[in-house]
Symmetry: C2
Subunit: 241 residues, 2 copies
Amino acid sequence: MKASLIIIGNEILSGRTQDKNLSYLANWLNEIGIQLTEVRVIRDEEDVIVETVNHLRKTYDYVFTTGGIGPTHDDITSESIAKAFSVDLEINQGALSILKEYYKDGELTEARMKMTKMPVGSELIENPVSRAPGFKMDNVFVLAGIPGIMQGMLEGARQFLKKGDVVKSKSVDIFTPESNVAEILTNLQAKYSSVEIGSYPFSKENRFGTSIVMRSTSDDQLSKCDTELKELVKNYDTKHC
Amino acid sequence: MKASLIIIGNEILSGRTQDKNLSYLANWLNEIGIQLTEVRVIRDEEDVIVETVNHLRKTYDYVFTTGGIGPTHDDITSESIAKAFSVDLEINQGALSILKEYYKDGELTEARMKMTKMPVGSELIENPVSRAPGFKMDNVFVLAGIPGIMQGMLEGARQFLKKGDVVKSKSVDIFTPESNVAEILTNLQAKYSSVEIGSYPFSKENRFGTSIVMRSTSDDQLSKCDTELKELVKNYDTKHC
């Protein structure tokens, strides 16, 4: 099971806001056996959103979007998703009920009503934090951009997702530059084709080190690869890692 | 002037590593008048890298890549860039000189030699941190993934970049939910088409607030828009923001 994420927001691309949703979603999906395989960060522009959604929803099992479903003029995700699916945008009666319950009389302004408008055919995704829901159209999950709200909505999205084979990981950290273990890793990767071996340099306490990460859906292969790696690098310092 | 960034790395997509290069690059480019317009995060897979690079280099003035130019088996960016440009990968003599000077006799192992291999026609991008250089092919700038090294390489890339019109920004933070100012902002955006007005909710000291960001290449329009906005929201609490 493979998923992609579309981060919609000029504030990410301008460098004003640091995205926190990518790594959260990646880890959350890992736990239910879905691999985040591609991410695109795009501007709040209708044509770009439509094109990106339409490409990715045909390519991956699931597409998640974050951002652009609030009440202001720069929130154009919902209408863009409607365009992508060639359906109308309508007041979603479920969303309307939720907001009517949440806001006092007179508080459900035109701006807030914007948050009830969704593509025809949407299924609601609950928002336990600030009530205004996200929605799902086919395999596209439309979530808020604010991390706390996005994380809450993900729990509401869980019921719609099929679980895949969970990728487990093991890692070994050693105090030597990665070039010193490059050959070992090349050979190990060739031997364990069902394990994805990644090598990531780090520096700590003024010493260079390498973090070796093994990922696989096979417990058996992962365990064998890990055992073999530990034997191969046993002469390097691993303490304090 | 518009740029895109390709973040190459399974460790970002697995959620293991939080990317820090996007926001740094965005801010750095802003200062020289280049807008980061699209970002893609992709896996360490040759076909995907080739296709992504070839699409984006035709779409944007500049393309930056981060990650995958180290000495290990999972570093496949350089050979993928060569494939994208349909040229051979060769030992770059400039890169070889730099590494020969840096490493003692016998230390320039086969793994480290991998870092001298670049597409035919590459121009070197200096690496003041750990020496092994990045490179430029046409409008594609191939940089390291480690933030400290990537940031150093960017200074070496500066000489190749044409400056564009710098986007300036002003922001006003007020303590009210964004739905309360949505109509004001819609009207203001309609009046100032050359200013991009973004609205971003926040919560601070248990109160909801809205950060309104105005961005424009025109000082005059930006200043007028800012003055008008401040007048329109003067009744909202702005202190402590």
